[in-house]
């Protein structure tokens, strides 16, 4: 190539493209024309072709000192660590309004009633920082199961739960005891306090349930005041508590936000038979010893049999 020659200089990129097999038809033609008359560029093209061949060897030759094995192993353990911390969440609509559902590889970690998507996302970001990612697809299955439950197509949420957002051991114990309450059964805050061996901590139990990270799945709606008051739910959403209980066949006095023990079947702690509310001294027993059922079906579905003296099977409570 003659460095002084403008044509040679200008054609060099095309020459390189031809050598690499990347040139378009017209560029290839002008290169062919030019090397026909320019010996320097003909040699140049030959050298670039040789170079292409050498460069192709780079794709096959191992690179000195570049073994990815160790980096790969370290990467796998970093990813495992990130994966275990990571929480995927999505926001969905439901019969109870908008819900945020979050889960990790351990299980469902949050169900939250939300008013505004923005503040809900900010809340999750505050809790989880970078570890939270919005990924509806990852929680879609969980949402479907919840929807079936809320539409009375199923009575069980057999989810693995991830209690990472339970604040303390005490709260974990409260949540674990609450999770044991069967569908259609209710007890009192004092009942939960007794079950976890802390009968004096009724108010602390109520606080722990107020901050239940996974309502519905951990059925804090089944826990009420000793007087039968629904007390509270998810802040000020007592209407949702009524709806969840009604779904389970629990008769709720809507006006008073109250449950009437006189209209519920009763299980006394430690027994395997369920009774009418008037059986023996049940009407005066403290709520902490009792589990109440709205229907016989729900009582029997957990293996209880009708009491042989009051015979709730013969004298069912009229609605």
């Amino acid at each position: 190539m003659n460095a002084e020659n403008r044509t040679c200089r200008e054609i060099e990129p095309d020459l390189v493209a031809v050598a690499a097999g990347e040139a378009g038809a017209s560029a290839a033609r002008s290169v062919e024309r030019h090397v026909g008359i320019c010996r320097g560029c003909r040699d140049e093209l030959a050298r670039y072709r040789v170079l292409e061949g050498m460069v192709a060897d780079l794709r096959r030759a191992p690179l000195a000192g570049a073994d990815p094995t160790l980096a790969r192993a370290e990467l796998e353990s970093r990813l495992a660590d990130i994966r275990s911390r990571m929480v995927a969440y999505g926001i969905f609509s439901s019969p109870l309004g908008k819900l945020l559902i979050a889960r990790s590889e351990l299980g469902v970690s949050m169900v939250r009633y939300i008013d505004s998507e923005r503040s809900a996302k900010a809340y999750v970001a505050r809790l989880a920082g970078d570890d939270a990612v919005e990924d509806k697809a990852a929680v879609e299955g969980t949402y479907r199961e919840l929807l079936d439950y809320l539409n009375a197509r199923s009575t069980r949420l057999s989810w693995q739960l991830d209690l990472r957002w339970a604040g303390s051991d005490f709260q974990r114990r409260v949540l674990a005891a609450t999770a044991q309450l069967p569908y259609g059964a209710i007890t009192s805050y004092s009942g939960i306090a007794r079950r976890i061996g802390a009968p004096g901590s009724v108010r602390a139990v109520a606080q722990a349930l107020r901050h239940n990270p996974i309502p519905i799945a951990i059925p804090c709606h089944r826990v009420i005041g000793s007087s039968g008051d629904l007390t509270g739910y998810a802040g000020s959403k007592i209407g949702l508590k009524e709806r969840l209980l009604s779904l389970e066949g629990v008769p709720v006095g809507h006006a008073a936000h109250k449950i009437d023990r006189g209209h519920m079947y009763v299980l006394y702690e430690g027994y395997t038979e369920y009774c009418l509310p008037t059986c023996g001294s049940l009407a005066t027993e403290p709520m902490s010893q009792l589990t109440l059922f709205g229907t016989r079906r729900h009582a029997e579905s957990v293996g209880l049999t009708p009491c042989s003296s009051c015979r709730p099977d013969l004298h069912p409570i009229s609605a």
Partner: protein, 179 residues
């Protein structure tokens, strides 16, 4: 489609691409040891962004773009080091096979090219490696380098010219040393 979190599709991505990205980074940084850190960082970032990636995205090109980006930032942070590297590589080119390590590998054309590529400015080095070693198209290279496909092509061209020149110089040195 419901995606189960316990079967992480990203594992397939790591298995398919980690070795190649590592090899790319070893060349792009001109220091194989740094490819360990940067390849991990590439996949950690990719993992976090993976969920938001459209299903029809070209995952491989996307990984190269992340890796290139990290590499560039790495150099910005270590600007002085890069200059030192370039000087060292230029020295290597001048002295050619008389360089002790150079001696051992000088007969291998590919090792000689790697030596020359190590001394190129970052954009040329990355563009050359992406095109000639990993065979990405110019659009993808442009996206990696945040420039047009045409600029990407120009970077590869400049790199090729210098590689050619560098090989010529090595040969000259070599023949001059023959008695």
């Amino acid at each position: 489609m419901v995606r189960d979190m316990t079967e992480d599709p990203f594992e397939t991505v790591v298995a398919a691409h980690h070795a190649e990205i590592h090899r790319y980074l070893a060349r792009a940084t001109s220091r194989p040891a740094e490819a360990d850190d940067l390849s991990q960082e590439t996949f950690v970032r990719a993992y976090k962004a993976y969920r938001a990636l459209p299903p029809d995205a070209n995952v491989r090109a996307w990984l190269f773009a992340i890796a290139t980006n990290l590499c560039r930032n790495h150099y910005r942070a270590e600007g002085r080091r890069r200059l030192a590297m370039a000087a060292a590589a230029a020295g290597a080119t001048e002295r050619g096979p008389s360089w002790p390590e150079g001696e051992a590998i000088a007969n291998q054309a590919s090792a000689r090219i790697d030596l020359i590529v190590a001394g190129l400015p970052f954009k040329q080095r990355a563009a050359f490696t992406l095109r000639k070693v990993h065979e990405l198209d110019y659009d993808a290279i442009g996206k990696s380098l945040e420039c047009s496909a045409e600029s990407a092509r120009a970077h590869v061209f400049q790199a090729l010219k210098k590689v050619r020149q560098g090989l010529d110089d090595l040969d000259v040195v070599h023949t001059e040393r023959q008695p």
